[in-house]
């Protein structure tokens, strides 16, 4: 019997280490330590209900486990074979407990390629990776294929870059391989910066060897013997596991000189980023690694011609690499049979926002947003109404009800006014104000703009100020026109991807939620009741009994009135904190 415990950052933060320790002690206390293994794995993806403990071979899926539950799991499940009912997952729609992961809606529609080992193996043990055919793809490539043959397999598979751009990976490798130089580099872009996205972190935490193996394969293809992982320093657990994995691979001779006795040399070093969003852009990333300011530069020259230290460099994202070993072992035809015509394979998405099953999922390309949000994601929290989903992070756009049945792939999302991005999906419900959402993303891009080119540095700031005015109720109809014009100019004239995409949230909300902007500007009302400046707290004189509870709790003394007589709120003083609504027992106070 194996007890798998999630060791991803999310579950670790909820004491999964302590649970593992407690389980081990309990097992030892019952003299079962030889029969039952406790294994820390990577992320299971079901972060909403973490920490997760999965019992194998029966696939029992325990959610929100606490260290004090360890003894019950051992005494009941392990010793007596009775499942601990209260820890089983309860389907929010059917209100029924589900015993094993195979019957959970969350897992049923998923297809795991990049995440194949996450939540299955212990990421700190290379043996478990090898037992899952790890490093066989590298061995096969080095002994059976030429670099060009390998590139052809990747090209044929149809794999496209998972970091956001969607550039064909095989083609990228081919360009880098054709540029002759005395030294070339393979770079793994682990500078995941979209708010709410954590797929790269989870892969590095849950299956670091798959990325190492793929980087070596790429090195063989393009003729590089050196790999660099650019990872943000705020991912300490991913860094730790990656370091352990690199050391273990070196120890086994799977990194270093003369790998598999073929004379191929390859080694990997880590480079830490300080968490700047712009450094996810490949030229900025390379400059940052060189010790320069993290600013993008004009392309051409492309990194494949002149990248790190002026040498040909191939940059791929973590998730892209994680797909490579599976493609080599199972073949290009297998991979290209999954997905849509122009977007092959699967994509990992991070579900966040007002959705029941917050977490990490991997689905075949071509699945619809409806399936992702309502079947896998379990629908909207608290039974509210779906309003929009933001894909592609700050560079993407908001998609609405009418896009729910569009198959998800690179091209369809762009056609719908958003983009794939790195795969963040933030779900919004009827309570979210779309002007505020656009403002939130602009706030992020203003903060993260490197400042090198003026459209991005100054333009985004002006966009933000316009949005700020609208949410305060000072906007005009001309402002809406100005928003659109300025957005177009920023998109057309910015130097790098950051500025070229930063107005997307504004444009897509203008397109899909124009009426909300108009409501803010003309009626001076926020339909979702989010913009504080546009709200007014009013006491209904009919319902108010004059108990004075609101007046006593108002922090700014904005409420006046005699005992047992209706009270009034002075809007000039009111700070809209909501304290009075909470205290009123007669529902006499409302927001208008």
């Amino acid at each position: 019997m194996h007890l798998l415990i999630c060791g991803g950052t999310g579950c670790k933060a909820s004491a999964s280490d302590a649970i593992a320790e407690k389980l081990k002690t309990e097992l030892e206390g019952n003299n079962l330590q030889n029969e039952v293994q406790v294994i820390m794995t990577g992320c299971f993806g079901f972060c909403e209900k973490g920490p997760i403990v999965k019992v194998l071979p029966d696939n029992t899926f325990y959610t929100q486990v606490k260290p004090e539950d360890a003894s019950e799991i051992v005494k009941e499940h392990v010793i007596k074979g009775r499942k601990v009912e209260r820890l089983l997952y309860v389907d929010p729609a059917k209100k029924a407990t589900i015993e094993d992961s195979k019957h959970m809606g969350f897992y049923r529609k998923q297809m795991r390629i990049a995440l194949r080992n996450c939540g299955f193996i212990n990421p700190e043990n290379i043996d478990e990776y090898i037992a899952r055919e790890g490093y066989q793809a590298l061995g096969k490539v080095l002994t059976e294929y030429t670099p060009q043959q390998t590139i052809d397999i990747i090209k044929k598979s149809g794999l496209r870059g998972r970091g956001g751009g969607g550039f064909p990976t095989g083609l990228k490798w081919e360009i880098a391989s054709k540029n002759a130089a005395d030294q070339k580099y393979v770079v793994c872009n682990a500078d995941e910066g979209d708010p709410g996205a954590f797929m790269d972190r989870s892969i590095l935490e849950g299956d670091p060897h798959s990325v190492i193996e793929a980087m070596a394969i790429c090195g063989y293809c393009i003729g590089a013997n050196k790999g660099l992982v650019y990872i943000r320093a705020e991912y300490p657990l991913a860094i730790k596991r990656l370091k352990i994995a690199i050391d273990q691979a070196r120890e086994y001779g799977l990194l270093g000189n003369d790998i598999f006795g073929t004379g191929f040399n390859f080694d990997i070093e880590l480079r830490y980023g300080a968490g700047a969003f712009v450094c996810g852009e490949e030229t900025a990333l390379i400059h940052s690694m060189e010790g320069l300011r993290g600013e993008p530069s004009n392309k051409p020259p492309f990194p494949a011609q002149s990248g790190y230290m002026g040498k040909p460099t191939n940059v791929n994202n973590v998730e892209t690499f994680a797909n490579v070993p599976a493609i080599i072992l199972k073949g290009a035809d297998w991979y290209s049979s999954i997905g849509t015509e122009k977007s092959k394979g699967t994509k990992v998405f991070a579900l966040a926002g007002k959705i029941n099953n917050v977490g990490l999922i991997e689905v075949p390309m071509g699945i619809t947003l409806r399936e992702v949000i309502f079947e896998i994601g379990g629908g909207i929290k608290n039974g509210k109404k779906f309003k929009a989903v933001q894909t592609g992070g700050p560079s993407g756009g908001c998609l609405t009800e009418k896009h729910l049945d569009t198959p998800i792939d690179f091209d369809n999302l762009i056609a719908a006014g958003s983009m794939m991005g790195s795969g963040g999906m933030i779900v919004m419900d009827e309570d979210d104000c779309m002007v505020s959402v656009a403002k939130f993303y602009l706030d992020f891009t203003v903060e993260e703009s490197c400042g090198k080119c003026s459209p991005c540095r100054i333009g985004n700031k002006r966009l933000y100020e316009l949005l700020e005015r609208i949410t305060k109720g000072d906007g005009t109809m001309e402002d809406l026109e100005r928003l659109r014009n300025l957005s177009t100019v920023i998109k057309d004239t910015s130097l790098c991807g950051l500025g070229q995409t930063s107005p997307n949230p504004v444009l897509s909300t203008l397109d899909n939620f124009y009426h909300e902007y108009v409501a803010h500007v003309v009626d001076k009302k926020c339909p979702s009741g989010q913009c504080k400046s546009l709200m007014q707290y009013v006491i209904d004189p009919e319902a108010c009994v004059g108990c004075t509870a609101c007046a006593r709790n108002c922090p700014v003394n904005a409420i006046s009135g005699e005992r047992k007589k209706p009270h009034e709120i002075n809007p000039a003083i009111c700070i809209k904190c909501g304290a009075c609504i909470e205290k009123c027992k007669f529902d006499a106070i409302s927001i208008k």
């Binding site: 194998l56 074979g81 790890g134 066989q136 061995g139 086994y252 001779g253």
Partner: protein, 132 residues
């Protein structure tokens, strides 16, 4: 410290490491394997179910039979403990009573290997609790 010197080396390593995660792979494809449940409630354990479980685990591996062995609670046939439920792929589950290591050996050799029924099946109309 062993170095992996060739692809053949790696494949050999994989074979020997396979057993470590075998149980997890099986959990993923349990429907297609022989599944054995050993009743391990107080009554079962008192009658020696733990020995039977260990015997099954060791012997099935030794004899190269791919099976998922789990424990379950009291099946209700306390008079006949230790009891085990055996489910061959595409067959209905069968419960055997009074299973000691000798009986377990017979079950492996006759029922699991050849599908021949052996004495000790209780009751004839048994249905696994999973189906109810």
């Amino acid at each position: 410290m062993t170095k992996v010197k060739s692809l053949a080396d790696l494949k050999k390593m994989k074979e020997s490491l396979q057993a470590k995660i075998d149980l997890r792979e099986k959990g993923d494809a349990a429907e297609n394997l022989i599944q054995i449940k050993v009743a391990m409630a107080t009554c079962g354990i008192a009658s020696g179910a733990k020995n039977v479980m260990e015997f099954l685990l060791e012997e099935l591996e030794k004899r190269g039979i791919n099976a998922v062995i789990t424990q379950t609670g009291c099946m209700g046939y306390c008079y006949a403990e230790p009891t085990i439920e055996v489910k061959l792929p595409n067959a209905d589950p069968v419960v055997f009573g009074y299973v000691d290591t000798k009986k377990a050996d017979e079950i492996i050799e006759k029922y699991i290997k050849n599908g021949e029924l052996v004495d000790g099946i209780i009751p004839v109309n048994y249905e696994s609790i999973d189906n109810k």
